[in-house]
């Protein structure tokens, strides 16, 4: 394990360059430029607001500002997660010429895919922070949780991304499965709604580690409370454990990549 991390640190320049390449290409080809980074989360936020409006019309309760804030606060990390996984899944097969021609730790591919999406996430977050500040959502000491929660989400994305990129290399239909899961995943994850709406089934929804992280982020940012330590710990186990296992599997399969791609 330490060997693996050491090797990755040795190749950090490459990790940086590949991330930079992905970002650069994304923004170079598009006239819209940085607007790209905000487009996808904006769409999700818009969809979320529509759903919320529907809820409020059915229940007869007026739509509150905090609800809108919740939707946007959860939509942006979700967009990051979806983008990372989708991008990471194709990262090995999309770079097949490098995989078969040059040696370096292949972990760099899925990780740089996640990092490139993290860049978009940062831009979208800056935009959202401005909006939330203007809307007067306020601040509290509980925001110190936020970096840790985002870190957990990044680790989770790295772990899952590694596993899926590796799986997709051996079985090319994985990417279609991933697409389907990610498209419908939003209904199984508390993005447009709160897990607490389900009453005693709340924990069932939080078993999804992404859901647990999103809810914690929501609690911290919108409600200014400290998150439920149990669910944060649960998500942390998923993130760290998942990454460890994924990395291990990835490493074991790595030497077969060039022949099987």
């Amino acid at each position: 394990m330490i060997e693996m991390i050491k090797e990755l640190i040795q190749y950090r320049h490459l990790l940086y360059m590949l991330t930079w390449r992905d970002i650069k290409i994304k923004y170079k080809q598009s006239v819209m430029g940085f607007f790209w980074a905000i487009l996808m989360p904006m769409l999700i936020v818009a969809a979320g607001i529509l759903v919320k409006k529907g809820f409020s019309m059915v229940s007869g309760r007026p739509l509150e500002l905090t609800e809108l804030a919740s939707v946007s606060v959860k939509a942006i990390p979700w967009a990051f997660f979806v983008g990372s996984i989708r991008f990471a899944t194709n990262s090995l097969t999309g770079n097949s010429n490098l995989v078969t021609k040059i040696y370096f730790p292949r972990e760099v591919f899925p990780i740089s895919a996640v990092f490139a999406n993290f860049f978009d996430f940062i831009i979208a977050s800056v935009a959202l922070t401005l909006i939330l500040a203007i809307a007067g959502i306020g601040m509290s000491i509980n925001l110190v949780w936020l970096p840790f929660l985002i870190f957990l989400l990044v680790l989770l994305a790295c772990g899952i991304g590694m596993l899926l990129s590796c799986a997709n290399l051996f079985f090319r239909d994985i990417k279609y499965l991933v697409d389907v899961f990610l498209t419908f995943g939003i209904f199984f994850t508390p993005v447009f709604y709160e897990a607490s709406m389900f009453g005693k089934w709340e924990s069932a929804l939080l078993l999804n580690p992404v859901g647990a992280i999103l809810e914690a982020i929501n609690t911290v940012v919108v409600f200014h409370k400290s998150p439920d330590p149990f669910w944060v710990a649960y998500a942390a186990i998923w993130s760290f454990g998942g990454l460890l296992i994924a990395w291990f599997i990835f490493h074991r399969a790595e030497f077969k990549f060039a022949e099987n791609i």
């Binding site: 078969t100 040059i102 060039a258």
Partner: protein
């Protein structure tokens, strides 16, 4: 420091032929099959073949070793094993030091990025740090000779420019061990020469080099040793010119149109009558062979061709009437067997050359015998840079 930089010890590597299960729905039948047919690492399964069979070699510091062989012999597989992209099924590979593999130098290029950006990208893919690239950027661009286009996206480059930039980056990594696969083939002659010089300077600094190429001339210039790989096995291993000769002879092809005409026992001699394959430019060379014909000898022509092996350039093509070897006394004799010698002046520049002979029958207007690459020789001289003919120039005051 250990003197042996690369140790390739009895390495076996197998590949699969044909279709492979690469979708999830094929996984289950595939798995079932695997469970029932316990596949062993060192046994050949169904539709598998050995790409490398028991290959061993060592490379010491400051040594350059060339690998030649026909396509599909396993040359690239060796390089991929060395660089760690593939792992052997059996055997051991030891690499002492930072290895740089130039297997496809422009593999890391992204078409939408500019040349400069790709230098950074490719440099880090090959293991350079950002600061190192900053320092060497000018040098790299200068070496590639495409500084005007360095801010143009690479997708607008010609394939030659692509290769030039790729090699320039790769040539500036300062590796401990250099592994090079047929990367020079795209560049023009001048650039190829530049690359060879660069590699020679690395070699002088003690960097061991493994060099795969079909360009035999560059192998001869660069390497001390070579081996000839055929069907995944080392066919011949040793001094570079011996191995090259062996390789060239394997390209010999004889076409007979008439069984009565045969050329045999061909050999090359120098001016002193010693067998030799190496000549100084301007020296006299003698080719001796045994000739058998079954029609009057003055009806034949002997075709004598010399080609440069590195690029196939035709250095000469003569048709010599066989009437010159006619004897007074056996003129009437229709069938004839005779030892013949062909003298010529080696007015060629340094390089490897191959000789082809053919016999043409004038009355019937057709070739009756053709043997290509029957002989090989190399020419050595020190003063020329490029060209084909040795004119022996001398500069003096009048």
């Amino acid at each position: 420091m250990n003197d042996v930089a690369l140790d390739f010890n009895q390495v076996w590597k197998k590949f699969k032929m044909g279709e492979r299960y690469d979708s999830l729905r094929d996984l289950i039948p595939g798995m079932a099959k695997r469970i029932f047919s316990r596949n062993n690492q060192i046994e050949l399964g169904e539709r598998e073949f050995w790409a490398l069979k028991d290959v061993s070699f060592q490379v010491k510091r400051g040594e350059a070793i060339g690998i030649i062989g026909p396509n599909g012999a396993g040359k690239s597989t060796i390089l991929k094993l060395l660089s760690g992209i593939l792992r052997p099924n059996k055997g051991e590979i030891k690499v002492n030091g930072r290895l740089s593999a130039l297997i496809e130098v422009s593999a890391g290029f992204h078409p939408d990025l500019t040349g400069r950006e790709n230098v950074y990208l490719n440099g880090s893919i090959l293991g350079m740090k950002r600061k190192e690239i900053d320092k060497r950027l000018d040098e790299i661009v200068e070496f590639s000779g495409i500084s005007e286009f360095i801010d143009t996206p690479v997708k607008r480059y010609s394939s030659g420019m692509h290769a030039r930039l790729g090699f320039s980056v790769a040539a500036h990594i300062n590796p401990d061990i250099l592994v090079v696969d047929e990367v020079l083939s795209v560049g023009d002659l001048q650039f190829q020469k530049k690359c060879i010089d660069k590699m020679l300077s690395l070699k002088k600094r003690g960097v061991p080099i493994v060099f795969v190429s079909h360009n035999l001339q560059s192998i001869q210039m660069l390497c001390n040793r070579a081996f000839f790989l055929k069907n995944g096995q080392i066919f011949k291993n040793g001094d570079v010119s011996d191995v090259l000769n062996e390789y060239l002879f394997s390209g010999q092809a004889t076409t007979k149109f008439d069984n009565g005409v045969i050329i045999s026992n061909t050999a090359c001699f120098n001016y002193y009558g010693e067998r030799s394959n190496v000549f100084q430019a301007g020296e006299k060379a003698i080719i001796k062979f045994n000739l058998k014909v079954n029609k009057p000898i003055n009806e034949y022509l002997l075709g004598f061709l010399i080609r440069r092996t590195s690029d196939g350039f035709l250095a000469c093509d003569y048709n010599l009437p066989l009437s010159s070897i006619e004897d007074e006394n056996n003129n009437i004799n229709i069938s004839l067997e005779k030892n013949v010698r062909l003298d010529f002046q080696v007015n060629l520049l340094k390089g490897l050359y191959t000789v082809s002979l053919h016999i043409y029958h004038n009355p019937s207007q057709r070739h009756v015998y053709w043997v290509s690459n029957i002989l090989h020789f190399s020419v050595e001289e020190r003063i020329s840079w490029e060209g084909v003919s040795y004119l022996n120039p001398e500069l003096c005051s009048e």
